[in-house]
Symmetry: C2
Subunit: 360 residues, 2 copies
């Protein structure tokens, strides 16, 4: 088959590599940045390079629009204008409502969003296996052509992803809840702490604890991308942000009531919620946390990770909690299932470290 | 010197060990749980055990009240009732206002709060070096006796901590901002996501991303402790929670405005704030983040951590971002300062992994 990739960053480049590798596709590439396009060709992410969208799109069975979110609808519109009647046009934007509103009436357009690659950027990091096992949302409308939709779905499944159809608005609400809202909360938390810093105890701000560090890790992340995402999904995000504000007002009221039993029940309920959410996240079993008390010198993390690796236990997630002077601390290790948790505790115990299982 | 420790969990036990080890103190121990008290003696955390607070307190120069937050004021009151005129009584509660309101008029009482040990619990985990380098807040009042205050301050400095005087209300506001508020935000976020889950897309909830996982790590943490902390500091926490709700409402309004430049500026400001906050957190230099793309098999974390350890680079913090099917992923590594960041990138590159420096 022949596909076109419009925009050759991390996602576009990986689509090109996966399509060539897994679908034996010819890949026509276009990017307004000629240097980037040449680099993509060097890396074999595209098989041919083209000076215009119309050139790249000619003869393609599927056109993948992989430009930055802000210009995606324009690129997709140009692609549809240039493409023939039997060409499917899809995109990879993380917000779908605007694209669907603009283009969803065209039977050739299928909105898409692969959940992959958020952790990096650039065609240099493109990989043929980027989408292996990744959810890839598709947002067909009632007017979307069935054969073209099926073609897109089969292609992305062939590239290793797990396609799933979802209504565009439901998609945007979902992303607003699990991805965009955490970013807004992080932004708000650092702003509030910074204001406290500038206040009457500015010179004695404490070591910022692990809870603060974890909660704000994504504050202000990747401004070039996130400004567009938050703006592009503004209605759904604003709904979620307002809902969170209302929940916080309720929580403040509960706290002021001084009703200790209700406060404790509310707090314990959060542990239940998280367990439920993360359990759904893991096919292989429930995520278990172990805390290890260690001296925080170079090598200790390695020693533990190595022992677990040798023992066949995979570390799913890890968080370090250094003490104030970095002389010691704790490591939170997350492994999957009770068996791995038990095995991990044995392996770490054998190294002479104290292990504390954490029930949540 | 002679001290008394009332309550022999992690903190009380560590005070006992540190006082015996660093101050050559005689340590009299009391705990309502006789078994626990015996265990503390076995572990040398206390030198003598006593059946009552009055017995333990007799002859002590400093009494450390290390009971759970909920009963701390009662324990401290009993200690003051039993103690002589030249005995200082201090506590370790993470909320100070109530204790000060109840006891701050007594010249012998000095409220205290060591920032240590939050990552675990139990006398089994007590260590003489738990407080090394840790901030230890003291909340004297105008009526606190100067000589007794000085005695407490010198003792905790001798145990390795860094004492700092702070007004009790300022302390509680500070903790509400940097510690208690993140916990409330995490609770609210999981509740909101759980509700979304139960809604119309319950069967197609996506893999929960790293931003969600980081943001909710402390949701519902340690219910036995946190119910009391949130309740005990309820006014200050409620103030902070309401302020966060107001900020979220403002953020929702900004988003709805669709003013892309202002949204981008607001988002970029958050990165500035976080940089400022974490820079103050590190004496040795700015925390730098590197992203490493890896296959997520047992052993890779170890390989990298080992290479950094061998190269003398300390990993200050680490977060794993597995791909959906766990077949690959990214590791965020945090190291201190530009030199370590450069060195880490070299060491990891030499292993054949791609390293992406993250500018925040």
């Amino acid at each position: 088959m022949r596909i076109a990739v419009l925009g050759v960053g991390l996602i576009g480049g990986s689509i090109g590599l996966a399509a060539r590798d897994r679908l034996a596709a010819e890949v026509a590439g276009y990017d307004p940045d000629a240097e980037l396009l040449a680099r993509a060709e060097e890396l074999s992410a595209v098989g041919s390079t083209h000076d215009s969208i119309a050139d790249a799109v000619a003869g393609a069975e599927i056109v993948f629009c992989a430009a930055p979110v802000g210009v995606l609808p324009d690129v997709a519109r140009d692609a549809l204008a240039a493409a023939g009647r039997d060409t499917a046009v899809t995109d990879v934007g993380s917000v779908k409502r605007d694209a669907i509103a603009a283009l969803g009436g065209d039977p050739r357009f299928v909105g898409g969003h692969p959940l992959a690659g958020a952790e990096t950027a650039g065609v240099e990091n493109a990989r043929a296996d980027l989408f292996d096992g990744a959810r890839w949302y598709l947002t067909p409308t009632p007017t979307t052509g069935g054969l073209l939709y099926d073609r897109v779905q089969r292609a992305i499944a062939g590239m290793g992803a797990r396609p799933q159809a979802i209504d565009a608005q439901a998609h945007d609400r979902l992303m607003a809840t699990v991805s965009h809202l955490p970013h807004v909360l992080a932004n708000v938390l650092v702003a509030q702490a910074a204001e406290a810093l500038a206040g009457d105890y500015s010179e004695r701000f404490p070591e910022v604890g692990p809870s603060f560090r974890d909660a704000t890790r994504v504050a202000g992340a990747n401004p070039a991308i996130w400004g567009d995402i938050l703006g592009g999904n503004r209605e759904a995000v604003a709904d979620q942000v307002e809902a969170a504000a209302a929940r916080l007002s309720d929580a403040a009221e509960l706290l002021r009531s001084g009703d200790q039993d209700s406060i404790a029940a509310w707090h314990a309920g959060a542990a239940e919620h998280r367990r439920g959410l993360l359990a759904e996240d893991r096919a292989a079993g429930r995520l278990r946390e172990l805390r290890v008390l260690v001296s925080n010198t170079p090598g200790v993390v390695a020693q533990i990770a190595l022992a677990l690796g040798d023992g066949g236990v995979n570390i799913e997630d890890m968080a370090l909690h250094p003490s104030a002077d970095m002389s010691s601390g704790a490591i939170s290790l997350f492994v999957t299932g009770d068996d791995d948790a038990r095995r991990a505790a044995e392996l770490i115990g054998a190294l002479g470290h104290d292990v504390v299982p954490v029930e949540r």
